[in-house]
């Protein structure tokens, strides 16, 4: 498709270790369109961060073993691109926002200087001009007194401010794609609301595509256009955000949505999903969700369902989805 900014086909990541192999990502496909915000949701350990790092080619290999049939960023084919060239792509065309800004920022360099560097690297600007741009960028993400804050070191800023700095940093080179891995998980609710607002704004103003990684469905509901739900290394459902939340089709998505306590109603006891996510080394046979699934059948215990498309617009990996698919995608 012409307007696809990121196309990922059959991405796999494994970690061989003493007791066997952890298959962290088991062949996922992603399509992110221009200006779109796609979200990857799922519980701890389901492979979200590893997927993101694999797309950025930031995983250390070894220990990780990565493979993809296709990894295309706009007009750039990254599938077999060597690491040296990836470095250039990363600063310029893809940027990442991490959960923990403290580790993502250089602790011994002022935040202003760190942003200046990006401008200096990607455009012919004098130091003065670069600093002007930096101050503008900091103002844009809502850092008050940006001129003086630019001279702060990361540890002198609050968590919310550091996250804003990371956003400014990520957008500085106007990349084609931003990957934000749990950008607000460490923040308080009122600060989270501010930072998400800034992120959404920046994404729309610059028309940048985004892959948002989150475990919190409410964050996704407020940010994403498209949602990919992951479970134990596989995509189990993909749909437009509204459709997914209004009519989830995979029993896991359905269970998750039902179990989230809502301000708008009082339901007690809370709807619960039994048991817990399987250990990555001890994934069950058949559908990985079957030990927890209320719709599980013999078939589910034996064979992994394929991701099948439904109404062209959404996909679900389930033998007994809440609504039947009309056509099969090969």
């Amino acid at each position: 498709m012409a307007d696809t900014v990121l196309e990922v086909r059959n991405l796999k990541v494994a970690f061989p270790c003493s007791g066997g192999v952890i298959r962290a990502v088991e062949g996922i496909d992603l399509d992110i369109h221009r200006g779109e915000c796609a979200a990857l949701v799922g519980e701890s350990g389901c492979g979200k961060s590893v997927s993101a790092l694999a797309i950025m080619k930031l995983l250390n290999t070894p220990p990780a073993v990565c493979r993809a049939d296709k990894l295309q960023l706009d007009d750039l084919d990254l599938t077999h691109l060597p690491d040296r060239q990836m470095e250039r792509i990363r600063g310029k065309h893809m940027a990442m926002i991490f959960q923990d800004a403290m580790t993502a920022l250089n602790p011994v360099m002022t935040v202003g200087k760190q942003i200046d560097e990006i401008y200096l690297r990607h455009s012919r600007l004098s130091r003065r001009e670069a600093r002007q741009r930096t101050i503008k960028a900091l103002e844009l993400v809502g850092v008050p007194e940006a001129r003086s804050r630019a001279n702060s070191y990361p540890h002198q800023l609050s968590g919310g401010m550091r996250q804003r700095v990371l956003i400014a940093l990520a957008f500085a080179c106007v990349p084609k794609l931003i990957i934000a891995d749990e950008p607000t998980t460490a923040l308080d609710v009122t600060i989270q609301a501010q930072v998400l607002d800034v992120l959404k704004n920046m994404q729309q103003v610059h028309g940048v595509s985004a892959l948002l990684i989150a475990h919190d469905l409410s964050v996704v509901a407020n940010m994403a256009d498209t949602v990919y739900v992951m479970y134990s290394g596989k995509i189990v459902e993909r749909a437009a955000m509204q459709e997914l939340f209004v009519e989830p089709l995979h029993p896991y998505t359905h269970g998750l949505l039902a179990s989230v306590p809502r301000i708008s109603d009082d339901r007690q006891p809370f709807v619960q999903i039994p048991d817990a996510v399987p250990h990555p080394m001890r994934k069950p046979t058949g559908c990985y969700f079957h030990p927890r699934c209320p719709r599980s059948s013999d078939q589910c215990q034996q064979r992994m369902p394929r991701l099948e498309s439904l109404d062209h617009e959404r996909e679900v990996r389930c033998w007994h989805p809440l609504r039947q698919p009309h056509e099969v995608r090969s």
Binding site: E43, S44, P144, E145, S158, G160, M161, D188, V189, T190, I191, Q192, A193, Q194, L196, D197, H215, D216, L217, S218, V219, A221, N222, M241, Q242, F245, V246, Y252, G255, L256, L257, S259, V260, P261, R262, I263, S264, D266, R267, Q268, P269, F270, V271, Q272, I273, P274, A276, V277, R292
Partner: protein, 349 residues
């Protein structure tokens, strides 16, 4: 002796409780500064209820909870449990009282000793008390394992064998082994996988019912608090901003901070568009906070007098006190001085 207190009063009562922590200055003789973690908090928790404490990180929830159960001595004020001033008790009686009050911690990964088996972890409080025989302890642990949804086989396994949700079940079993009456749950699910939140919350509710426990439930998740708490307080920078029944607070939030907090909660109801109040700036530092309303730097309704004049809790409707000058009003003299005039909210902080 403690159990025979009159049943009329609240089970737990805090009166003007403050907790300050000293801050180390940059050099030995620098002026001593204080983190005012909890300031002048009064509240009452009745037998059998679930009492919610909500607020953002660092607002003093854990410190307040610790003061309740005798883990942090307040700098000022009194804590009465079953009518008895907890911090005036002799050590022996104090220990006795402490057994009635237990805590479930936020992080089930660091709160369980990795070198102890599940059996040793759960029986520990009983073991320390030292009155039960080995067989009695074993029977008790087994009973509790079943209650929290674990197996007999799990008894001799170690914490590392368990998922976060299972570890929290172990923590719950340990907390109730001495048959406490009062249980503080400090963010009991926020470190757990989302799909197990409901399991743990339901388990806690079941245990409360079957064992007639009183809960204090600390959370930043307003939806959970709304669903399980009868009464609650909203805290900001160590002080209570609003308190009352959760029905009243959710139906009619009156404090500007409560309103902002409620509107910042992201919901998964995608069909309903909502107006957001986006607060400016960050939570200020609790070190030497401003003398007036602690929320004034971020408050969208701040008035000139808010920075310097403390807002006292005043009841708007019975049992629903709110600490805000918008509610309590300024005196005629203060109005004459123009202290009621709005200031545009200041950014930064």
């Amino acid at each position: 002796m403690i159990r025979n207190s009159p049943d009329t009063g609240p089970l737990l009562e805090m009166e003007n409780v403050s907790v300050n922590f000293p801050v180390k200055g940059p050099y030995p003789f620098s002026k001593k500064r204080w983190i005012q973690a909890v300031t002048n908090v009064s509240l009452q928790v009745s037998e059998g209820e679930t009492f919610g404490i909500v607020g953002e990180s660092g607002c003093g929830k854990t410190t307040l909870a610790n003061a309740m159960i005798g883990m942090v001595r307040p700098t000022a004020g009194t804590v009465r449990f079953q009518g008895v001033d907890l911090y005036s008790l002799k050590p022996q009686v104090f220990r006795e009282a402490r057994r009635e009050m237990q805590m479930i911690f936020q992080d089930p990964f660091s709160s369980l000793n990795p070198r102890f088996s599940v059996y040793e972890i759960i029986r520990e409080p009983l073991y320390i008390r030292g009155q039960a025989s080995e067989t009695a302890m074993k029977a008790k642990v087994l009973e509790l394992l079943k209650l929290v949804g674990l197996d007999e086989d799990d008894m001799y396994r170690y914490p590392s064998d368990f998922s976060g949700g299972q570890r929290q079940r172990i923590g719950i079993a340990r907390a109730i082994i001495l048959n406490p009456r009062f249980l503080v749950c400090d963010e009991p699910v926020s470190a757990l996988d989302v799909s197990v939140h409901a399991q743990i919350l339901n388990l806690l509710m079941d245990i409360q019912k079957s064992r007639h426990l009183t809960y204090v439930f600390v959370s930043h998740n307003l939806a959970v608090v709304k669903n399980i708490c009868q009464n609650m307080v909203v805290m900001y920078l160590g002080t209570i901003m609003e308190s009352g029944s959760s029905d009243a607070i959710f139906a009619n939030p009156l404090h500007p901070y409560t309103k902002a907090l409620l509107s910042a909660v992201l919901d998964i109801d995608v069909t309903k568009p909502r107006d957001r109040i986006l607060l400016k700036g960050d939570t200020p530092s609790p070190i030497d906070p401003p003398p007036g309303c602690r929320f004034w730097q971020r408050c969208p309704s701040a008035m000139k007098g808010c920075a310097t004049i403390p807002a006292k809790l005043a009841e708007v409707e019975p049992g629903h006190p709110v600490a805000c000058h918008l509610i309590s009003g300024f005196s005629p003299q203060q109005v004459a001085d123009g202290l009621h005039e709005p200031v545009s909210p200041k950014s930064g902080g």
